[in-house]
């Protein structure tokens, strides 16, 4: 009985929470034909918003995959006072309401920046906000893999004559790569959907700093539900493709087992 009930519950829940709402969005967008969806996406302001969102998200994923891995490395391999506190702080962007994050960033990098770095109403502001929000993804996916990594492998490489850099590149990195990719993928998909943290610092200037999620909200406010659904579908599609690619990479990495 257990299995049938379990599968049933899972499918029902997944349908109610994920599949039906997503299908509704796609249905809503496609109600007036594929041509209309494409047109709605190609509206100059939506297209600009999508472009900014995707470019910023790629940059964010690339930067955070490097920085997140470095932070995970330091947290796993180095000892320093206050390590437990730093480890806890990593999750703060997860825990904080994103609008609060936006407020903090605006206070820090806004027009009255105490650091004299004014990123308000600029694309760079959007990128910084997204960097902040998505950092935990890479750290938290790489960290456990690094913890589990067999240190004997590195020592074996040393005794076979490999230096630290060669050992890192040829032994450690390939073992971390699947986790890094998956963290980067999560950071990317989270970035393309981000609203709260970017909305304050970006100023939502159409054609300049307006991100896709804000563009969708704008369309809803001006009663263009179908247009909003069309842009949403575009985001959905991108996210879906990225998730599929991630899954393929994981399977490819898993072939060794």
């Amino acid at each position: 009985m257990g299995t049938g009930l379990g599968v049933g519950t899972a499918v029902l829940y997944l349908s109610l929470i994920v599949l039906i709402p997503l299908a509704a969005v796609v249905w809503r967008a496609g109600g007036q034909g594929i041509g209309y969806v494409w047109q709605a996406i190609r509206t100059p302001d939506s297209w600009a918003a999508l472009e900014l969102t995707l470019v910023a998200s790629v940059i964010v994923a690339l930067v955070n995959v490097v920085m997140g891995t470095v932070i995970a490395w330091v947290l796993v391999r180095d000892r320093f006072p206050g390590k437990a506190i730093v480890d806890m702080l990593i999750d703060l962007p997860f825990a904080l309401p994103t609008i609060v994050a936006g407020l903090v960033l605006l206070a820090l990098y806004g027009a009255n920046s105490p650091l004299h770095v004014n990123l308000a109403y600029s694309e760079a502001g959007v990128v910084v906000a997204l960097l902040f929000v998505t950092l935990p993804f890479v750290v938290r996916t790489v960290q456990p893999v690094l913890l589990e990594l067999d240190r004997d492998m590195e020592q074996a490489a040393y005794s076979l004559g490999a230096g630290q850099w060669v050992t890192f590149r040829r032994i450690i990195l390939p073992n971390l790569a699947p986790a890094m990719l998956s963290g980067a993928g999560l950071a990317f998909t989270r970035s393309i959907a981000e609203f709260g943290s970017t909305v304050l610092i970006s100023g939502n200037i159409p054609f300049k700093t307006q991100v896709a999620a804000v563009n969708v909200a704008g369309r809803i406010e001006s009663d263009n539900l179908t247009g909003a659904a069309a842009v949403s579908t575009a985001l959905l599609l991108v996210a879906f493709v990225v998730l599929i690619m991630l899954d393929l990479v994981q399977r490819w990495a898993g072939r060794r087992d």
């Binding site: 067999d150 020592q155 074996a156 490999a162 060794r256 087992d257």
Partner: protein, 330 residues
């Protein structure tokens, strides 16, 4: 000498792990570092490999002072208990790793790797990943990988420790044969005295961070330097204040000169071997006899027998006053 370890000391925190350890290992030998866990034998092996740095003392490998050399520059092959296989590389690439790092020409790498895979009987497995191999196969791959770079010395840290009993026996016979073929100076760590005696030419007994005795398996078994070595190398029992090997006790059903009377409590028949458990004044003692000898005695539990050490028996005054000496584990 292939390896000269001189006055090495090493502590982890405040715990001393090695105390003034000096060991010489001759070229081409197959040496076992034998001792109970926590005795410092793995640490000594890792110091020879350069994976640990001694607090004081020197390590000389093939006449070169290697004490401050990095593991990369010692030209030492190291085999780990848990294989340390490069999980993301095929068997072929694992074995080729050391040669690729040394930037040897591709053709030479290919030739050498195939040679080694043949040596360890893994030629069919070249394209597999380590996860697709059994434990014994993984360890053979690790051995081929370590041998690929033609190391001055081959170091193995409990190489069979993670394998089941059957495979362990096979692999140690195989290691012995491999050593006879390859002749590389080999040092392996084990806590299993039978494994050490089976495989090694020379045994270094290490306990509590100090060398207890060095010698051939026969020397160490027949002439243990102290009660610890005697009881670690094989079974012992206590007869009249002395440690004696149970197979060195003569059992007689009739009284005779120099014999100690003992009451038989139990007779255990293990096929060829028969163990006779007895008591002398509240103290347990046991003797190991062949089945034929035991049968000809015709004794039963409750009988009184007379014991004395056989003429050439090695005896050591037992430590403390009649404290029972524990048999070694494993």
């Amino acid at each position: 000498m292939a390896i000269e370890v001189c006055d090495v000391n090493k502590s982890f925190g405040t715990t001393p792990v090695l105390r003034d350890v000096s060991v010489d290992i001759s070229s081409g030998s197959l040496t076992a570092l034998l001792g109970p866990s926590g005795g410092g034998k793995s640490t000594l092996l890792r110091i020879i490999a350069g994976l640990e740095v001694p607090d004081s003392g020197t390590v000389v490998i093939s006449g070169v002072d290697a004490t401050r050399l990095s593991p990369q520059r010692r030209n030492v092959g190291f085999v780990f208990q848990h294989y340390a296989a490069f999980k993301h590389l095929t068997v072929y690439r694992n074995v080729a790793f050391g040669l690729e790092v040394r930037k040897r020409p591709k053709a030479e790498v290919r030739r050498r790797v195939h040679e080694l895979l043949e040596l360890v009987h893994l030629e069919q497995m070249a394209d597999r990943y380590p996860a697709q191999l059994s434990g014994g196969q993984r360890q053979r791959m690790a051995l081929a990988r370590a041998l690929a770079v033609e190391p001055e010395v081959l170091l193995l840290d409990e190489p069979f420790g993670a394998l089941d009993a059957q495979v362990r026996k096979e692999l140690r016979t195989w290691l012995r044969r491999l050593h006879d073929e390859v002749h590389v100076t080999t040092v392996f760590v084990t806590h299993d005295q039978e494994e050490a005696m089976d495989v090694a030419d020379e045994i270094v007994v290490l306990a509590n961070g100090a060398v207890e005795q060095v010698g051939s398996p026969d020397e160490i078994y027949d002439n243990p330097a102290n009660p610890f070595v005697m009881s670690f190398l094989g079974p012992v029992t206590n007869l009249a204040g002395h440690l004696v090997r149970p197979h060195d006790i003569d059992v007689s059903a009739t009284e005779r000169s120099g014999g100690t009377a003992a009451a038989v409590t139990r007779i255990v028949r293990l096929g060829f071997e028969v163990r006779i458990e007895m008591r002398i004044d509240e103290q347990d003692v046991w003797a190991q006899l062949t089945r034929g000898t035991a049968d000809s005695l015709g004794i039963e539990p409750g009988d009184t027998v007379y014991l004395r050490p056989s003429p050439h028996a090695k005896r050591l005054a037992s430590p403390g006053s009649g404290r029972p000496v524990q048999e070694p584990a494993g």
